[in-house]
Amino acid sequence: MTLTPLPITSAQRPDSLGRYGRFGGKYVPETLMPALSELEAAFYQYRDDPEFQAELQSLLRDYVGRPSPLYFAERLTQHYARPDGSGAQIYLKREDLNHTGAHKINNALGQVLLAKRMGKQRIIAETGAGQHGVATATVCARFGLQCIIYMGVHDMERQSLNVFRMRLMGAEVRSVEAGTGTLKDATSEAIRDWVTNVETTHYILGSVAGPHPYPMIVRDFQAIIGQETRQQCLEKWGGLPDILLACVGGGSNAMGLFHEFVEEPSVRMIGIEAGGEGVDSEKHAATLTRGRVGVLHGAMSYLLQDGDGQVIEPYSISAGLDYPGVGPEHSFLKDSGRAEYYSVTDKQALAGFQQLSRLEGIIPALETSHAIAFLETLCPQLSGSPRIVINCSGRGDKDVQTAAKFLNLM
């Protein structure tokens, strides 16, 4: 990187207006502004409240199954070893082992505890791959709250297993037919529901996107990933990781891993976007790689848009990365040079999917497979034996039908 990283302090992320540098903010209809203020106030009130924290920590341990292990991927490490035995030491932060099979539950649980304290009885959420929808349906079942999940028709088809799981747990899954019927459209519809029912409803947004305070709240509930990682690294080798690697759609699993280390300049942070059929084609979802600054779903951030400022429908084999925007803090980390962002194609992601399955007996989500696949590019560039922590953000059971179509294993 040729950019000199700006001094980054936690006070800037975000500032009092919810901005990360020039990114973030609250670009929403007036109707929602009081609700965003109410949510922000509730978050600040309960974030440091011992009773709230005790309830959250207890559920994270006994219900979610935290802490998630930091697993040394021995055969993956051997695969990338040089003839002299040196090479990247690869560790997986096993968020796939969480209850419901992904990192999404960390945030859903935190937000449902907030909603309960704010007296909201009705919960709505958007979902792409279905993991956030499943996590939200799960916590709503656990606390007996009405749950409505907005999901694009196209995603309902490619993630039908998750649709069944949500319905089984009592959630109503509403299909969204607008646009291409994917995550962007589901998010717009969830926001319209919230505008209409804001007085009774809490919107559990699933990524570090959307208007302030969501990027901050979601990040802080996901930050446990990085906090545990720091502790586990200390236990295993008495130091910090050298490289953090995570996939980025909206960016919540990456932000959850990165946040703890943003002010540790020795830790290199790499986010991997969905390159679809290639970032030079029209079919990709690589927002930070190919987007321009714009406003979507309440935040200023990088955005895939056409020359007229219309939002472009993104594409990825992975429903969870198929989003034309990205969390504002990622845009800030990119522009400041603190984090690096690259993309891998569908084809490369499928290779990563197979590789982790065969070498480690771990079937990763297609989203996660993007991060795995980047090892192929990254490892040959590295010298010595740096320790890489990959956020293994979700399990791949939900993706086997999609993958089977491409891999011809059936």
Binding site: Y27, P29, E30, R192, V295
Partner: protein
């Protein structure tokens, strides 16, 4: 609008989506509305992700975009037709197309095309500053919105910054036709009136002459009707749509004329 209020009259502000069914029809519709009682006209710029809009206007925007309607197309149509109509034109657009063109260029371009006002539904008070100053110097009035959920202190702050008129959103929700206007609109109007003498337009959810009259009687300076126009204009052949909005516009105007 101020002169109408001075005469004790309530203004009618119809809304249509540019490019649905096509820009030629939009141009004719603007002229028809102008001749049939519209005091101002809101022209919606079609956008891919209209968060504040209900199904009718969303669908109209999607159709307009599918036909390839660009901002340049909308503005050149407006530039052609605006000299032929009396009613001031207010553009209704989401923020991203403004940002994409560059705030100053956007404002200059819409002014040249003949627009005199701007409503940006996803730009609340906290974010509007970047737009307000350049708009003032170019001569575009930026209308701000007040919602049923807006707290009292905030209403006063918005009223101070708003130009042209204050847009009172009459429902907690998105645009679209409702069978009744919420009675709390009356309280909101009184609350707004107590902090400002700027004109107040009420919109979102008003679709019938009787509702328009109700809102006028509660003290609104203007009534904004959107989805009910957009729906009529989109039904049948373009000439049928134009006939439908002509009689609808007259009916609304009659209902709010003293």
């Amino acid at each position: 609008m101020k002169s109408l209020r001075d005469r004790g009259q309530c203004a009618l502000i119809p809304f249509i989506t540019a490019g649905d069914p096509d820009l030629e029809t939009t141009a004719k519709a603007l002229q028809i509305l102008d001749r049939n009682g519209a005091d101002l006209i809101e022209l919606g710029v079609p956008y891919s992700d209209p968060l504040a809009d209900g199904p009718v206007i969303q669908a109209a925007a999607t159709r307009a975009l599918a036909k390839g309607t660009s901002l340049d197309d909308v503005l050149s149509m407006l530039q052609r037709v605006s000299p032929t109509i009396k009613a001031p034109i207010i553009l209704f657009t989401y923020y991203n197309p403004i940002l994409n063109r560059g705030i100053e260029t956007f404002l200059q371009d819409i002014y040249t095309a003949g627009a005199r006002g701007l409503v940006v539904p996803d730009l609340p008070l906290e974010e509007v500053e970047a737009l307000l100053q350049p708009a003032r110097s170019i001569g575009i009035e930026v209308t701000l919105l007040v919602a049923p959920t807006t707290p009292k202190e905030r209403i006063a702050a918005i009223a101070t910054q708003a130009e042209g008129f204050i847009y009172l959103v009459s429902v907690t929700g998105v645009t679209g036709m409702r069978t009744e206007v919420e009675t709390r609109v009356q309280d909101l109007l009184m609350e707004l009136r107590s902090v400002t003498d700027k004109p107040i337009g009420v919109g979102f959810g008003i679709s019938q002459p009787s509702q328009a009259r109700q809102v006028m009687e509660w003290g609104a300076d203007a009534v904004i009707v959107g989805s009910a126009f957009v729906k009529r204009l989109a039904e049948g052949e373009p000439h049928q749509g134009l006939e439908a909005i002509e009689s609808f516009c007259r009916g609304l105007k009659a209902a709010i004329a003293e």
